[in-house]
């Protein structure tokens, strides 16, 4: 039997696999790039360090929640509690970091809360076989209520230096985002991480192949929780304080970003780079429309059109082929 064709491949598998995954999102990348150019053209200050820093800071929390939503949707799940988790993360950060726990303790509290609530949600969805959309809808009330209990009205504080570090005039947020993306790639290179796709698209087949399907899905919920409360921590740092209802809009935006990025609802479809591009597009859209001088009515209409267009056009091209 001939071994010629595949022997050559053996050397490099990882990068071709990665390259293949760009296929579905190239169109979106082009759109995002066009928006980026438009933004840079309309606002040349974007190319300065502080202009870039400020822009990435507005994008950062949306990028995190888009990732948080995407990882769930890859496993065939979804969360309507992302916004509440962001609020909770912000509130915990703002009430602990200037207290005896300090920044490290506060960050740990935020992370543990995210992981814990995420894992609990995952357990309920996966093990008790309840529909994720409604479990997380109920969860959003519980988590949102918890945020209100911790901080009944906006307040609390984040140490000034932390705010300046994360949301000052340096692109630290962008660096953190790059780190998070690298960690994600690392996770996806572990057997458990890659199982996400199989567990989402074909759970029965994955189980029969020896994949710990339930474990992979629960882990996804935990990571999603961590990313959400992490986004909350950043929002708290960016604003210097906590607000128990600050996250509300993130729930639907995270879904919009993920779907814009080509993540499917059935599990196993799409890529994280797509979700990130989707969130970037949503964020860019706001600034570009500002600089184009759109009125609020035009903003609403354009926003709807861009979202539909970005999803429909690639679909259309697929059908044409």
């Amino acid at each position: 039997m001939s071994t010629v064709p595949s022997a050559g491949q053996a050397g490099a598998l990882y990068w071709p696999v990665q390259a293949r995954r760009n296929v579905g999102v190239r169109g979106l990348f082009a759109v995002v790039l066009a928006f980026l150019f438009a933004y840079g053209f309309l606002f040349p200050g974007l190319l300065t360090a502080s202009g870039f820093a400020k822009f990435t800071q507005s994008w950062f929390p949306l990028a995190l929640v888009a990732m948080a939503q995407a990882i769930l949707m890859l496993t065939g799940g979804i969360s309507l509690a992302i916004g509440a988790m962001v609020s909770l993360g912000a509130v915990i950060a703002a009430t602990t970091m200037t207290g005896p726990l300090g920044v490290a303790g506060g960050a740990a509290a935020v992370a543990l809360t995210g992981l814990g609530i995420g894992a609990a949600t995952g357990f309920i969805v996966v093990r008790l076989r309840l529909p994720a959309i409604v479990v997380t809808l109920a969860g959003s009330f519980i988590i949102g209520g918890a945020a209100l209990l911790i901080l009944p009205r906006p307040g609390g504080a984040i140490p000034e230096w932390l705010s300046d570090l994360l949301a000052g005039n340096t692109p630290a947020a962008f660096v953190v985002l790059v780190l998070i993306v690298l960690l994600w790639k690392l996770y996806l290179a572990t057997p458990l991480g890659l199982s996400l796709y199989a567990a989402g698209e074909n759970p029965v087949g994955a189980y029969r192949s020896g994949v710990p399907v339930d474990g992979a899905r629960i882990a996804a919920y935990a990571i999603s929780g961590l990313l959400s409360t992490g986004a909350g921590l950043f929002v708290a740092a960016q604003t210097g304080s906590g607000d128990p209802v600050i996250g509300a809009a993130f729930t639907l935006n995270s879904i919009a970003a993920a779907v814009l990025g080509g993540i499917g609802f059935l599990g196993g479809q799409g890529t994280m780079r797509g979700a990130l591009a989707g969130s970037l597009l949503l964020s860019l859209m706001i600034s570009v429309m500002f600089f184009l001088g759109f009125t609020p009515v035009a903003q609403y209409v354009a926003q709807g059109l861009i979202i539909i267009g970005a999803v429909a056009i690639p679909q259309f091209r697929k059908v044409q082929q």
């Binding site: 507005s58 009205r153 304080s241 128990p244 509300a248 809009a249 600034s287 001088g293």
Partner: protein, 326 residues
């Protein structure tokens, strides 16, 4: 040209005509739309005076994070003034500090931010609102009885401040029992639903302390639908409520968050840019609506949207007085 800039954030290096940025948190509700109307009218006036050449409007769609991004864009595009209704009482503080450092006049009205890095804040006094409303109600029920309290949404400073403002008066009257409280958006439907259930659960109610928005109309409708006698109730200047007040002959008292705060904020911004001294906090006296002047308000009802708010009249003289007076 004005070397001795007087107000905070003002550096005196900006010249008329100015570009005004109006950072709205959510432009769809009728109250906001009315406010926008007063701002646009004021801008027209100022344009004629050659003081303003452009109004830039953003709508954060209710998202405080988007509002931060939009304020950042206003800074980037170098507007001369930002007038602002904040989506969160804490979130915009840092971006406003940046704007202030750039010499942009910032006038924050209605929903305020906990920061001093603004040129001026313009608002009615929420605590006073709660206090006056509570005092009226306690008085109206004869210093004792069972009441309901209707609050705005939870986790929002304005509704919390109004509620806290009512505390002292309530404490001073131990015979006034608070049967239940609600937190709902400042809208008719949720208030009507909540009050209906509360009425069934607490059949004896002597008064309703309603702290803003269209909550009072909902409460009145709830009582009416159950065929119950109306009780004394406080409220705001929502047209629907005022019409119900007249129709049912309510024992009532209302105040308002006048929509012309927007026009006034615009005016103030230009004054500050022009080098005038502007107080850091302009406290708008609460206009009171009671049986004595209710008809005057209702007479103008047709000029306001059916689901809108009938605000008190205003003119430039009023603005001047407000800026000058303590």
């Amino acid at each position: 040209s004005q070397a001795n800039a007087a107000a905070k954030c003002i550096k005196g290096d900006r010249k008329a005509p100015y570009t005004i940025g109006w950072a709205n948190i959510y432009s769809v509700p009728t109250w906001m739309k009315q406010t926008q109307g007063t701002i646009e009218a004021e801008v027209e006036t100022l344009k004629k005076q050659g003081l303003v050449d452009k109004l830039v409007v953003t709508d954060a769609q209710g998202d405080a994070n988007v509002q931060i991004q939009q304020i950042q864009s206003m800074i980037d595009s170098d507007v001369d003034a930002i007038i602002l209704i904040a989506g969160s009482s804490t979130a915009p503080a840092r971006v406003l500090a940046d704007a202030c450092a750039k010499g942009i006049a910032i006038i924050n009205f209605d929903s305020l931010v906990d920061t001093d890095d603004v040129t001026a804040k313009v608002n009615t006094d929420s605590a006073q609102w709660g206090d006056q409303a509570a005092k009226f109600l306690i008085d109206a029920i004869g210093g004792k009885g069972k009441i309901l309290i209707l609050n705005g949404p939870a986790g929002v400073s304005v509704s919390d401040d109004r509620r806290k403002g009512a505390d002292a008066a309530l404490k001073a009257h131990p015979d006034v029992t608070v049967l239940a409280e609600t937190n709902t958006p400042y809208n008719v439907a949720p208030a009507q639903e909540a009050v209906t259930s509360l009425l069934f659960a607490n059949p004896e109610i002597d008064g309703i302390l309603s702290l803003g928005g269209a909550l009072s109309a909902g409460a009145v409708l709830a009582l009416d639908k159950q065929g119950r006698e109306q009780v004394p109730i406080t409220g705001e200047n929502a047209r629907q409520f005022l019409e119900l007040w007249k129709e049912k002959g309510l024992k009532s008292w209302a105040t308002m968050q006048p929509n012309w705060l927007g026009a006034f904020a615009t005016y103030t911004a230009v004054q500050a840019l022009e080098g005038k001294d502007v107080p850091a906090f302009v406290k708008i006296p609460l206009p009171v609506i009671d049986n004595s002047n209710m008809d005057q308000y209702l007479a103008r009802a047709a000029d306001f949207p059916a689901d809108g708010y009938i605000y008190s009249p205003y003119d430039e003289d009023l603005f001047k007085k407000l800026l000058a007076g303590k």
